[in-house]
């Protein structure tokens, strides 16, 4: 397969993830969309690694995975804390900073 096909697939998944962040109100689903975007980035890394015959892309994808795991841990902890105090996981409700 040509590398463009993988890059375009990665772009499509990334954009769907971005749409998910913009559209979904549930904080957990928005967070899943962020994960999807990171995965799309990983796919681009891996296909670049394959295209250029260089393992650095795979190492980068691995580090992205580690960082995504950290991010999930912290993000879900924040969501649980907000849910505990506000009884809601909607991203629209904690709008106290607005006024």
């Amino acid at each position: 397969m040509s590398p463009e096909a993988y890059l375009i697939l990665s772009a499509i998944i990334f954009s769907i993830g971005a749409m998910g962040v913009m559209l979904r109100r549930n904080a957990i689903v928005a967070f899943m969309s962020v994960e999807l975007m990171l995965n799309a980035g990983n796919l681009a890394f891996v296909s670049a690694s394959n295209t250029w015959g260089n393992l650095t892309g795979q190492v980068s994808a691995f580090f992205v995975m580690v960082i995504a795991a950290c991010e999930v841990v912290i993000g879900l902890a924040i969501i649980v804390t907000i849910f505990r105090s506000r009884r809601s996981a909607s991203v629209d409700e904690p709008s106290l900073l607005r006024w």
């Binding site: 040509s2 749409m19 549930n26 899943m32 796919l43 891996v46 995975m65 879900l76 649980v80 849910f83």
Partner: protein, 262 residues
């Protein structure tokens, strides 16, 4: 025969379907399962692009750990927390979809035809190190060892952060079991076991009321449905007296007799 295009088309279409499913499914649990599906398909795509280690760690880390953590938090936060469909910002949904489509178009414009390179493949690099895993290890513990150490620090920090964020300070001391029992019974309504129906030698049905020491009926010894129907058998005080006489006639020691003996 080269299977890569076939695998690409199947897994690629599946992963896009999974991503769209995450976008449009109402329930958060369904979204999580769709994302897990997408990630599995991406693992297949890694495997077909000569990255077996990443494919395995994609399955283990993402579908195994991350998505299960998501499902765990979904269980805690409430599975049925569906999205509200009211738009807070006017036209936000249309704008977001337009932005997403624009993003896809932009990326395709950016990548389309820009790479004239033929795919080299990592088999040569893998061969110099003796395999994909060995090559990754050589890079990770060689050239990128500082970044590797930094990710270790990051993981530790994340663990500490999660612990601090979810830690709840106890404001008042925890109640002991004794305090809880006292609280329960000081409210006035009786929480202990109810008295059983008064079953005597001549009756063995539950509609026989239990009698208190003064001879009155213990109300809560009767089943509520029977009381509601009025199916309570009346207390036959003559019978009770007869029982008393028989028991005394059989020579059982009664209070009055012992007093007389003295």
């Amino acid at each position: 025969m080269n299977f890569e295009p076939l695998v690409f088309w199947i897994s690629g279409i599946f992963s896009v379907v999974g991503a769209l499913g995450m976008l449009i499914s109402k329930k958060a649990v369904h979204s999580a399962l769709f994302v897990a599906f997408t990630m599995l398909n991406l693992a297949v795509l890694y495997a077909v692009q000569s990255a077996p280690f990443l494919a395995v760690s994609q399955v283990v880390v993402y579908t195994g750990a991350v998505m299960m953590l998501f499902l765990f938090v979904l269980m805690m936060v409430g599975v049925d927390s569906a999205d509200s469909l009211i738009e807070d910002i006017k036209g936000q949904r249309v704008l977001a979809i337009l932005g997403g489509v624009g993003l896809i178009a932009f990326f395709i414009f950016l990548t389309g035809g820009s790479i004239y390179r033929t795919v080299v493949g990592t088999q040569n690099v893998d061969a110099t190190y003796g395999g994909n895993l060995q090559g990754l290890a050589a890079l990770m513990f060689g050239r990128y060892v500082i970044i590797f150490e930094a990710t270790a620090a990051l993981l530790i920090t994340a663990v500490l952060g999660a612990m601090i964020l979810t830690h709840r300070e106890r404001i008042r001391p925890k109640k002991t079991q004794g305090q809880m029992a006292k609280e329960l019974f000081s409210k006035g309504d009786y929480k202990g076991p109810l008295p059983p129906p008064g079953v005597f030698a001549r009756h063995n049905s539950v509609d026989t009321p239990a009698l208190l020491p003064d001879g009155s009926i213990a109300k809560n010894s009767l089943p509520d449905p029977l009381v509601a129907r009025g199916d309570i058998s009346p207390v036959d005080y003559d019978d009770l007296a007869e029982v008393q006489i028989i028991s005394e006639g059989l020579g059982l020691v009664s209070d009055s007799e012992t007093e007389e003996d003295k």
